[in-house]
């Protein structure tokens, strides 16, 4: 405790007065008030807490703020620009790829990461890449469909 640690979230630098071992998830949700990123398991098994760290989908529950020092963190809050949804968000909306919605932030961020690294994934690649994310409501088929739709619209 005590020392200040700087993290870069959505292009903005934040000074955190926190234990470097604090999870990125807690820092986002509690210190920065960005509650779009969710807790689901705390052990890297559900993907609800997924954010991008330098463009790579990362489970923020098992990532400390010290781990992301000097890196660029991107959360769900950064995707909508001037009222326009990111193509992946748009595709989730169009497809109705959720029910209770609790998994959506993590699903969308993972899918954004997927399309960054592989703009035209096959269905099998989508299933493989998304396999760390749980939707307990079982919207999986539509999530796959939404990602395919986003890929078609060139959404990265």
């Amino acid at each position: 405790m005590g020392q200040k640690l700087e993290i870069d979230v959505n292009g903005k630098k934040h000074q955190l007065d926190a234990d470097p071992e604090t999870s990125l998830l807690e820092a986002l949700r509690e210190d920065l008030g960005m509650t779009g990123t969710k807790y689901g398991c705390g052990e890297s098994r559900c993907g609800a807490c997924t954010v991008l760290v330098d463009g790579v989908p990362t489970h923020s529950c098992v990532t400390t703020i010290a781990d992301v020092k000097g890196a660029k963190v991107q959360t769900i809050e950064s995707l909508e620009k001037n009222g326009t949804l990111h193509p992946v968000q748009e595709a989730f909306l169009e497809t109705g790829a959720f029910q209770c919605g609790y998994c959506v932030s993590g699903m969308v961020m993972t899918a954004v990461g997927l399309l960054k690294s592989n703009p035209h994934p096959t269905e099998a690649q989508i299933v493989e890449y998304m396999s760390g994310n749980v939707c307990r409501c079982g919207a999986y088929p539509r999530i796959v469909e939404a990602i395919q739709k986003a890929a078609q619209s060139g959404g990265k």
Partner: protein, 683 residues
Amino acid sequence: MTTLPVEKSTAISRRALLKLLGGGILVAAAGPAAIAEALSQRNRPAMPQNISAWIHIGKDGRILVLTGKVEVGQNARTSITQAAAEELQVPMSLVTVLMGDTDAVPYDMGTFGSLTTPMMIPQIRKAAAAARQQLLTRAAKTFGVSADQLTTHDGKVWAGTRSASYGEVAGGEALTDTIPASIAVTAPNEWKVLGQTVRKVDARDFVTGRHVYAVDMTAKGMLRAKVLRPPSYGAVIESIDTSAAEAMPGVKVVRDSEFVAVAAPSLSAAGKAIAAIKVEWTEKPGQPSSKQVHAILRGTSTIAHPEPVAGAKPLSATYQCAYIAHVPLEPRAALAEWDGTRMTVHTGTQRPFGVRPEVATALGIPESQVRILVPDTGSGYGGKHAGDAAVEAAKISKALGVPVSVSWSRPEEFEFAYFRPAGVDELFATFTPDGRIVQWECDNFNSGPPGIECPYDTATPRTESHQAKSPLRQGSYRCLGATFNNFARESHVDDLAHACGLDPLAFRIRNLEKSPELQEVLKAAATKFEWGQHTPASNHGFGLACGTEKGGYVATCVEIAVDPKTKAIRVVRAVTAFQCGAILNPDLLKNQVDGAVIMGIGGALFEAIEFENGKILNPRLSKYRVPRFSDIPKMETVLIDRKDLPSAGAGEVPIMAIAPAIGNAVFQATGIRLRSMPMRLPA
């Protein structure tokens, strides 16, 4: 299954409501006799009658609908919005639904049992139709014409080219008529908003992460709390030393005999403070394990079956299912605020009016001093009937005099919520060699009677549910015990078909003369699946099953594959046909059906709570397997829209047929009959 506590129906004071809403039209609804009857049969309080307000029209023409139902992902918010928009003949965008705020909405038992569609939707339709009727009466006076010369569209009343908005006609005044029992509502074949695919209300807030769940809520000066959990069920505190926790910066400790909690500025600080408490426990010895549980639940009572009638052969079998967890992705959470007089709790629950007395009792204050509000919740599946997190947050907030947030960890959610009950089913049937079921008996132990009745044509079926002492806390679930009872029955029926040398589809149809609805869904699923037209590949099998509950009818056909080495079962393809009367929203219905089938794969193949000595052995997602992307078969869904039938709920029943369909397919592939859920082939 849960025994729901019977609560007093609490009528909301009209004055309080008017104050809350700032005036406007209030239509008091007399609940239809059928609802009152259904409720009294279940010995539960009726919906408030005559004095209850369901609909408010603001001066700005915006329409507020009030309901005690809550949104947990089943899209009740959307269907209720559609219902009000349909009958008021306004665009959905003018309608807002206020859900689950116990200070503002009429009393409601809770959001369970697929009751929103058959009970709340008709109520809202009638209330909305009556509201429109009163607007017409009022506008007729203003325009100096008779009401039947008026039309309504786009939130306005029209007399030829003259028009006035609903807001203007209402003028901020309350109309307090009761809903005429005879009020006409729009017939399903004339629906313009209901029956259509419309997007989930507030969908955009979910894809942007803006929606605020209970777990996301904060308040000024709020602390985050953790509760000290016993190492095993029934353990009591022998000695405790909280001084180290109390010495931590910003940490406060609350103790009320066995209830010990800490509150801190952050969740991790609260976690560290809990870990710093030195406590010795006296544990409760001799608690059973999951390995023995079915023998315990079954007990030793003897069940006498009748002699087979002449010419019939008997077939008996025993089935069992494990305790499973709901695993709502949003764990239980609550934000409680004590203002010195009243306790306000925001929490994700399916029963706000059930949580209110829980909180009141825990605090020793009258219910009138408790308000529960339910933000749209990260799912429930029957798992969020109780108010555990709400009670905890309320106790700590009252003790400390600051707002307190409690959000459970995943292990807490596994260990201290409640489970879908484990159970045993003993089946006895007799059949004639020409393919008729003659006698039918089913005895259920512990997991409850839903879905136990036999829909097949038998003269004197006997079904009975026997209570047992469950070693684990158990409660509701999606479709309650029906998933298991249906698994047992549909597996047994499959065995009967094979015993007669008949195709399982043909055998079912032959024995379902009394149920054209089940025949209809079976045929629809079978046609889509091309049942009987193909031979499965080696290590693959086809299976089908059907089921009915709560006015819904489902049939599922599956193709499964068995890994020749590991013997793991994978569902390759699932075709489900579902009929729930007049469909309210085809696309959202399809989403529900698919979601239920996928959830059903979990209970069918992997999910089981393991326990021993009062401890849950697999209380985390790394040890408790839920369906994932890679488990999802190719899915096809046939929705049968029966505009001639009343709409029935759809969140539950589609889960019923998948497990037995899988078991029947495994039998076809391997010749092995799996009688225990989750189903696993011996390696």
